[in-house]
């Protein structure tokens, strides 16, 4: 058992990176998630999209979808932004900062598929966007309740055991992250996956999985 409660959850904190009151910390857990987000962001930077093959059912014809350079550039930009936002969310040691990064992930996820010219995918992205937008309400609401009831937002402080964070605030945080595309609100995200451009589309799913994993740590810690 470690001295600090937080270190019993994600492992001993190796080092912390301070931005004023926002202290980003790297424990084995957050570091692992950070490295994975980083690895897939690098992949989105260096790999070219695949040429997705479509079969015309009922015939012998098949077609390859080609992504234009302009579209590829924009989607890569969004995928990188998404990767950066998830990296930030992974190591953030501040509840409000985490919620900000999470809402940025929601916006960039829409951006990744927004350039696709496929009605079905765009419809799904639209629905997803609305839910992601609505999900910011529980997210920021949870953060606000935590600040009002404890007077602090630092995860490090909150985990010291002197504060009691109301269960409903934790629930709101969890619901906000689940709204960004975790089950049972995953239907739109699964449809967004039909878009071509594998290295970018993967970031959609990766980012929501990562922030979900992180919010579990936060909910248990505080």
């Amino acid at each position: 058992m470690y001295e600090h409660l937080m270190e019993n959850i994600g492992g001993p904190v190796a080092f912390a990176l301070e931005f004023g009151d926002i202290v980003n910390y790297f424990s084995p857990y957050t570091l692992t998630l950070f490295i994975l987000a980083f690895a897939f962001t690098v992949l989105a930077v260096v790999s070219r999209p695949e040429r997705q093959i479509d079969i015309a059912f009922g015939g012998d014809a098949y077609t390859a979808k080609v992504i234009t350079l302009q579209e590829m550039r924009f989607r890569r930009f969004m995928a990188i932004a998404c990767g950066l936002a998830s990296m930030g969310a992974m190591v953030s040691g501040d509840i409000f900062n985490f919620t900000l990064f999470t809402s940025m992930v929601g916006i960039t996820n829409v951006g990744i598929v927004a350039a696709v010219r496929n009605r079905h995918v765009l419809n799904a992205a639209y629905e997803y966007g609305i839910v992601a937008m609505a999900a910011t309400l529980p997210l920021f609401g949870g953060a606000a309740i935590i600040l009002a009831t404890t007077g602090t937002l630092s995860i490090w402080e909150l985990s010291s055991g002197t504060w009691t964070v109301p269960a409903v605030a934790k629930g709101l945080l969890g619901l906000g992250v689940i709204g960004e595309g975790m089950a049972p609100f995953y239907a739109a995200k699964a449809e967004m996956f039909r878009a071509p451009g594998a290295p970018y589309v993967i970031m959609c799913s990766l980012s929501s999985l990562l922030i979900f994993l992180r919010v579990i740590e936060i909910i248990i810690t505080i």
Binding site: I53, I55, D60, Y62
Partner: protein
């Protein structure tokens, strides 16, 4: 890729693994550093070992589309 390249990469990965392992046993580097080396080098070793055995025996093809 040529076979020699695959062989070189494979041996480099294997050497990295063995070096990290020896260094860990001798106490020169902490265990987690050795593990980090393994995590990076072991997959490379596995894939390039197999690539050294067999690569580019056919030419590129479009995917299986189910005829």
């Amino acid at each position: 890729m040529r076979r020699e390249t695959a062989f070189k990469v494979m041996s480099a990965a294997a050497l990295a693994c063995i070096a990290a392992w020896t260094a860990m046993i001798a106490g020169w580097i902490p265990a987690f550093a050795a593990m980090a080396v393994f995590i990076v080098a072991f997959p490379v070793f596995v894939i390039f070992l197999a690539l050294w055995w067999m690569y580019s025996q056919g030419k590129e093809d479009i995917p299986f589309i189910g005829y």
